[in-house]
Each structure stands twice: as C-alpha cells, then as structure tokens.
C-alpha cells in the first residue's frame, strides 16, 4: 500500500531519526498549502457588504488594520503548521501540528468582534481541546507497541495497531472534519476571506494527510 500511495519519494530531509519527506501524493498537498499560504500573505481582505434590514440600503464594512494584521499572522502560522503536518515523517510531530492547526483556526477569528463568531469559536475550541486526547493517545499507543514514531520505520515493521490509527483519525476529525465541523461552519462567517479560507484549507489538507498515514503505517 505504501508503494502505491507514495509511488516514489521525491524528497527526504532527515533531522536525526526524524525524516521529513515528500511523495507524489504529499507534494500535491504541500503545493496547495504553499499556494494558499502565499495567497494569505499577499491578498488584502474583502470588504463585506451588509444589507440594512427593512430598507433598500446597504453598507460596506471595513476590517480594521490591526485585526487584519492579527488574522494574517494567525493564517500564516496555520499555513506553516499545515505544511509541517504534511511533510513530517514522525507521528508525534504530526499530532502536534494537528493540534496547533486546531488552535490557530480559533486564533484566526479570535479578534473578530462578532458574538456569533466568538460563540462558535468557543464551542469549536472545546472540541479541538477534547480531540487532543485521542490524538496523543494514538501516538502513545504506537510508541508503546512499536517502539518508534517514525513513519518510515512503522511502514517497515507493519505492526501499527488499528486502534492507534483509529484514535488518530478520530482526533483529526475533532480538529475540524465531519461530524464535528458545524461550529467551524459558523466561524467562517467572520470577515477576512484569505485568512478565513486557511481554516478550511488546513483542515482538508490535514485530513488528506491523515488518510495517507492511516493507509501506510
């Protein structure tokens, strides 16, 4: 299965026993992460139009510069974490990046002064925090049973317990995939399109990377 998904390893970047790598599959994910990271870096936010209720009038909202800068910083950090999660060859680092993405997703909307958005972010934050438990439990189970967290070595041993993989999968679902994403839907109402989009980008790419890990180790 590993050979089928990876086809060929395009890049290996060892840091001690932790090896970062890019395969034919993950290079596509990484390219997308970089693309949306650059988009968040160079794009200015939109100016949302709101209709004045009961009239024909409308007004254009401007996003304050300080909020925009905060959102952009969080979005860039989220993008970098996503690239980290995609390229890492270590299960523990992957879980750390996944949790980091969850927290940064809340950070992107944390400065928005909108009660509905902040309420949704709070609810989503609770799920994100709870999802750390299965994520770390999955990684702990793998190190306890296999003696390593390196994806490359786990592929060779082919002894990763299914329960550990399922725990990691549940944890990633909790970081923003179905069926826990409804709170996330609400937080995407916040203004700041290039930054808000990073919330969605990071979750989807994280999920796609998890599928690869699930099928290979």
């Amino acid at each position: 299965m590993f050979e089928q998904i990876h086809e060929q390893t395009l890049l290996l970047l060892p840091f001690g026993d932790i090896v970062h790598y890019l395969s034919g599959y993950t290079v596509i994910l990484a390219a997308f992460a970089v693309m949306f990271l650059l988009l968040a870096l160079v794009s200015l936010p939109e100016r949302p139009i709101d209709i004045v209720f009961g009239t024909d009038g409308y007004y254009i909202k401007e996003i304050p510069v300080d909020i925009m800068k905060f959102q952009r910083f969080m979005a860039l950090a989220c993008g970098i974490s996503t690239i980290g999660a995609i390229t890492t060859g270590d299960i523990f680092n992957f879980t750390l990046f996944a949790i980091f993405i969850g927290i940064l997703n809340i950070g992107i909307v944390a400065a928005v002064e909108n009660k509905h958005v902040l309420d949704a972010a709070f609810s989503y934050g609770l799920v994100v925090m709870m999802a750390t438990i299965p994520l770390f439990a999955g990684a702990a189970t793998i190190i306890a049973t296999c003696g390593t967290l390196s994806i490359g070595e786990l592929v060779d041993t082919d002894a990763t317990p299914l329960i550990a993989k399922l725990l990691i999968l549940i944890g990633v679902f909790g970081e923003g995939m179905a069926p826990f994403y409804i709170g996330k839907t609400e937080i995407t109402r916040a203004p700041g399109a290039p930054y808000i989009l990073m919330i969605h980008v990071s979750s989807l790419l994280l999920f796609l990377r998890t599928i690869e890990i699930f099928l290979t180790v």
Binding site: I5, R47, A178, I182, T185, A193
Partner: protein
C-alpha cells in the same frame, strides 16, 4: 500489464482530450438543462447553450468588484481550472485514485474561496453552505476503500483493466460503493437535491459575483469536473471501455442524474447534510463488513 491511458499517449493527445473534455462537459450540462426542462413541460434551452454561455462570457467586459479581495478573487478561478485539468490528467494517465480524491476535496476549498472573496452576502452564504456540506465528501472516501478492498490496488488504470480481465464490472460486486459515487456526482450536479450552495434564494450561490471572463473560466472548470466525475464512475465500476462506449455510458449517467434533479425538490441545508451523513454511515458499515469478510475468507484481494 501495458500502461493505461484513457485516450492517446502523448502530451499533444492530452491537450486534444482536454479541449474535447471541456466541450463535452459543457454539452452534457446543456443536455442536463434540456432534460430537466422537458420533464417540467418547458421547451428549455438548446443543448449547446452552456457552450454559447461560456463563449459569451469570454467576450464580455470583465473586472473585479470594488469590495472583493482582489488577488484571491482572481487566483481562486485559476486554481479551479488547474485542479480539474490535473484531475483529468490523473484519469487520463490512470494514476492514483487517492490523488483524484485529494483534488476533489480541494474543490471544496474553491467553492469556499470563490464565495468568500467577493464580499457579497449571497456568495458568502453559498461558501458557508459549502463548508457545511463537507459530509458529502466522506462517501467518496468509503468508495475508495471499498474499491481497494475488491481490486487490491489504488491505480485507476489497474482498477479499470482488472474488471475487463475478470469480465465482471464492479458495479455488480460493490453496488453500494457505486451508489455512493453516484450520490457524489448528484451532489455536484446543478439543480440537484443537494445543490444547496447555489440555491436560487442565493441568486447563483457561491459564484454569483464572478462574471465575464471569470465566469467563463469557472464554466470551463465545471465542464471538466462533470467529465472527470462521470468518467471516474465508468472506469471504477464498469472498467476500461472503448471511447464510444465511455461516451454512451457517460450520457446514460448524465440523463439519469437529470431525471433525479428534475423530479426531486431541493433539500434544505439541514436535510442535505442529514441524508449525506446517513448514507456515509451506511457505506462505512458496508465497508467494515466487507473488510471483515475479506479478512476472514480472503475472497477479495
């Protein structure tokens, strides 16, 4: 096993296929609109209407709305076209099914980004509904798992040729997975029961504010998307068939989808998500049972 290619082998032939795919996709959409209209006792537009639309939009005045996030407004359109060209490449070369799944998932980001970038409340609601209907993508993953279980490979080319070799299309042995992919195609069809992201109460939903050349490019992406999804269905569940058979099967699929769209009311966002989630659960149960049976008896792979 010789190398699989949908049609032709070199780059020139792929470019030709790309052009044919764009026109075929737009014509299929025209057919889709025509069938819906005829069922609803309307004359409907001519079948080549979507081709005419795309040509018309290509030559209309094009600019960027004052309220838009300008770089994103333009880039997201180019990414949309890029994604579906890449998806066509994956199908053409018979590459990994998981890459196709990734590209399909990334289309969700396109819908979201297109809707958010303009600043319009209509497009924004379309974008939010797109995030909400993320459950629609999970049946596709279950489909891929089931296909792997039966064929023992994720290569589209090998899956397609495997069915021809054993002379048994997978639609017979993995029918729930075929329904699952059919629902995915249905959820992306215009005027369908699950098309909440471009519902009429939102004007045109997530792409309301993309006009002129941008709309023409999005139409091209839409045409490619239709061809890619329909041909994926044929390759995964019928097998590697000659091009004329592929065209006939794609037509049959499109007509059946048009019938469903014409006779089914559009669901509310809540109903759409509920149906998709329930179907995901059913397919996951089916996949689990298939996995257990295959492990116990070793009958599949």
């Amino acid at each position: 096993m010789e190398t699989f290619h949908l049609w032709g082998t070199d780059m020139i032939e792929f470019l030709l296929l790309l052009i044919i795919a764009v026109f075929t996709g737009l014509l299929l959409h025209g057919l889709h609109r025509k069938i819906i209209a005829r069922i609803q006792c309307r004359p409907g537009p001519p079948i080549w209407q979507e081709v005419l639309h795309t040509l018309k939009f290509s030559f209309k005045q094009t600019w960027i709305p004052r309220t838009a996030s300008q770089v994103m407004y333009v880039t997201i359109v180019l990414i949309a076209v890029g994604i579906w060209i890449a998806a066509l490449w994956v199908i053409w070369s018979g590459a990994n099914l998981l890459i196709l799944f990734a590209l399909y998932m990334l289309h969700k980001i396109i819908e979201h980004g297109t809707g958010l970038s303009s600043g319009s409340p209509y497009t924004k609601f379309g974008a939010i509904r797109s995030v909400m209907s993320a459950a629609a993508e999970l049946p596709l993953l279950a489909t891929i798992a089931i296909v792997y279980l039966f064929c023992g490979t994720l290569s589209i080319g090998e899956i397609a040729q495997f069915q021809i070799e054993i002379n048994k299309p997978m639609i017979l042995s993995a029918f729930p997975a075929a329904i699952s992919l059919y629902l995915i195609i249905l959820s992306k069809a215009h005027y369908g029961p699950f098309t909440i992201i471009e519902a009429k109460e939102l004007v045109s939903g997530y792409w309301t504010e993309h006009f002129g050349g941008w709309r023409a490019l999005l139409n091209i992406a839409m045409g490619l998307k239709t061809v890619v999804l329909l041909s994926t269905f044929v390759l995964l569940f019928i097998g590697a068939v000659p091009w004329w058979m592929m065209t006939i099967l794609m037509l049959i699929l499109m007509i059946s989808i048009s019938f469903v769209c014409a006779t089914t009311p559009m669901l509310t966002p809540y109903q759409a998500v509920t149906v998709q989630t329930i179907w995901t659960i059913i397919v996951v149960i089916y996949a689990t049972v298939a996995l257990v049976v295959s492990s116990a008896e070793g009958i599949f792979v």
